[in-house]
């Protein structure tokens, strides 16, 4: 059975998605049980895969037992194992957390189908991460995108529909660009397998078809990543989505696209191509820095918590792209560790906001007064995640910012350093507004504000778990960093 391990993390959520519409009609609770079981086992399989990869061998799996250039293969190496564990872990946490929140926000008849589509989203994201075939990547990208559109539209307000529609239009432009880029690469090489393309492409680097195809792949993925000029779909989508969906997508969806960008840039194409022959890393470097400034600045002016967090995501994506574009190992480690860190931090923040919405219905920052007394555990988790976002030492945020800063210095790009500091400062400003409201401004004349109104344990335990991981990986930073170092070495071709 161990040889079939790579397929299991993907087909378990897939089977859950197919079985939920069948069994969910008997009892709607089955939907939740199936989802928790599928994502839990998926997480276990992913961790097992990562542990196998860490012993130093790439795990490959041929679907239908057709050898690679002809068939589709799954490849688990340091990078995909790392991202696979992050995504499946967040999926598991969010699913455990979801029951009460979904029960409140989604009409009862649709809860079963909601979980089915949610599992399809998980399937799609995991499928993107593990595949070694460029067209298979497109198919799973579309599964995740399509289920993402619908899940966002399930947010109760009518603005959610419009947010979903805008996401659909931009997402389709992005996906079609990716499809076109794949077609261009296929046209001049005749192959769709990533490893095979990597060997066939180098003699063709001067070819105009390859250059155009590369440009379209990168632009398409940048739309999916929501890098700065293409971020317009993101804030509305995360704000109006049901809180569970907002949490999961904020924690994982853009990370997976960033992973796909890394794959295309460093596995299909080579670092030499990215850094010497086309100005793509230069462009990404400046766009990343622009995102790091624009995101926090826009976040400061928001009054809705979720919208503020969504703009903060725009800024954080900038960090990841910055790390990718630096082109040295330290910067890449910073970018990859930030992938994990942002999933944990933003996941934690959105989980707390979801609990607040579930318990009190509050969405505005100014209404949060006295929340520190009403929901002490959740707000403690919020504070830890927020400190981590700012980059306080001993939290995960510090680790990745440190690596990014050192990487920028090594690359001789001094300009990135003040930008990182300024961006952290702006992040501190917008989180301070919340922390101030929560702890230092009591609710005036409200005696009821005194009593504890902590969310149900099913919500608080996952939240605290994610927040404590922010501290654990901040103190024991060597765990993610060692994996990310191996991944960066593999990507930049130094092993």
């Amino acid at each position: 059975m161990a040889q079939h391990l790579p397929i299991l993390p993907i087909i378990l959520p897939l089977f859950a998605a197919v079985l939920i519409p069948l069994f969910g009609r008997i009892r709607v609770q089955y939907a939740w049980f199936f989802s928790v079981g599928a994502t839990g086992f998926s997480f276990l399989c992913s961790s097992w895969l990562l542990s196998q990869v860490m012993t130093g061998r790439r795990v490959r799996y041929f679907l239908g037992n057709w050898e690679p250039p002809w068939g589709i293969e799954y490849v688990v190496d340091y990078l995909s194992g790392f991202v696979l564990v992050i995504i499946s872990f967040m999926a598991f946490v969010v699913t455990v957390y979801s029951w009460k929140s979904v029960e409140k926000e989604i009409p009862k008849e649709k809860v079963g189908l909601f979980y089915a589509v949610f599992m399809l989203l998980v399937t799609g994201l995991l499928g993107i991460v593990i595949t070694g075939d460029i067209f298979n990547l497109y198919v799973f990208l579309e599964i995740s995108a399509l289920s993402g559109y619908v899940l966002i539209a399930m947010g109760g307000k009518r603005e959610a529909l419009m947010a979903s529609y805008n996401y659909l239009i931009l997402g389709t432009i992005g996906a079609t660009f990716i499809l076109l880029g794949i077609g261009y690469l296929y046209m001049v090489t005749g192959s769709l397998n990533m490893a095979d393309l990597a060997t066939l492409l180098p003699p063709l680097y001067e070819n105009k078809v390859v250059l155009t195809g590369f440009a379209f792949l990168v632009v398409g993925l940048c739309i999916k990543v929501a890098l700065f000029p293409f971020h317009i779909w993101l804030p509305n989508a995360y704000t109006y989505a049901p809180s569970v969906v907002g949490t999961f997508m904020a924690a994982t969806a853009t990370k997976v696209s960033a992973y796909a960008l890394v794959r295309i840039m460093f596995t299909v194409f080579s670092p030499g191509f990215d850094f010497k022959m086309v100005p793509v890393t230069e462009i990404l470097f400046y766009l990343g820095m622009a995102a790091m400034l624009v995101g926090p600045v826009l976040a400061i002016s928001q009054t809705d918590i979720r919208r503020m967090l969504a703009y903060s995501s725009v800024g954080q994506i900038g960090y990841i792209v910055l790390g990718i574009s630096l082109g040295n190992q330290t910067g890449m480690v910073g970018g990859l560790v930030h992938l994990l860190n942002h999933a944990l931090m933003k996941g934690g923040l959105f989980l707390v906001v979801g609990a607040i919405i579930y318990k009190t219905g509050i969405t505005q920052i100014s209404e949060l007064k006295g929340m520190g007394k009403r929901m002490p555990l959740s707000m403690a988790a919020f504070t830890v995640s927020a400190l981590s976002m700012i980059g306080v030492p001993l939290t995960v945020g510090f680790v990745s910012k440190w690596y990014l800063g050192v990487g920028a210095l090594q690359a001789g790009k001094w300009i990135a350093l003040p930008i990182i500091l300024l961006s952290s400062l702006l992040t501190a400003v917008y989180f301070w507004r919340i922390i101030e409201n929560v702890y230092f401004k009591g609710a005036q004349g409200q005696e009821s504000g005194r009593q504890r109104e902590e969310g149900p344990p099913g919500m608080v335990v996952p939240t605290l778990g994610v927040a404590s991981l922010c501290l654990v990986f901040g103190v024991f930073a060597f765990i993610p960093v060692s994996i990310a170092e191996l991944a960066a070495q593999m990507l930049l071709g130094k092993t």
């Binding site: 399509l146 539209a153 529909l161 529609y165 659909l168 239009i169 079609t176 499809l179 076109l180 077609g183």
Partner: protein
């Protein structure tokens, strides 16, 4: 001249694709955007299909009199992409129908003015 004759198919697809792309970003009517999206995607399908053509080739079904077959792989890929396109269109139209019910319009300007 030979250059044009050898590559006219790509230019047709680019022209079609740009029509669709323009409709997708410049039109304000939600349904027109979806029409643009379909043209846009169909242009890409046309590109894939024109990759697969081999001069003198027949349809890729095993046949004893065939000397040359077209390349079957792009057909397979594009069958997948067509299904994706149909699904996206279905979801988009369902969304538009819900948007129309809750806003009473399918013009982006009017919807945005209602949101403010």
């Amino acid at each position: 001249m030979e250059f044009i004759l050898a590559k006219y198919n790509y230019w047709i697809y680019i022209f079609l694709m740009m029509i669709g792309f323009y409709a997708m970003i410049a039109k304000k009517n939600l349904v027109k955007k979806i029409i643009g999206m379909n043209v846009f995607q169909t242009a890409v399908f046309l590109f894939y299909i024109s990759i697969s053509k081999v001069t003198g080739g027949t349809a890729p079904i095993v046949w004893e009199y065939a000397r040359q077959y077209d390349n079957p792989l792009p057909h397979v890929l594009i069958l997948t992409a067509i299904v994706v396109s149909v699904s996206t269109t279905a979801v988009a139209l369902a969304l538009i129908s819900r948007i129309y019910e809750s806003y009473g319009h399918i013009e982006e300007d009017k919807i945005l003015s209602q949101q403010k």
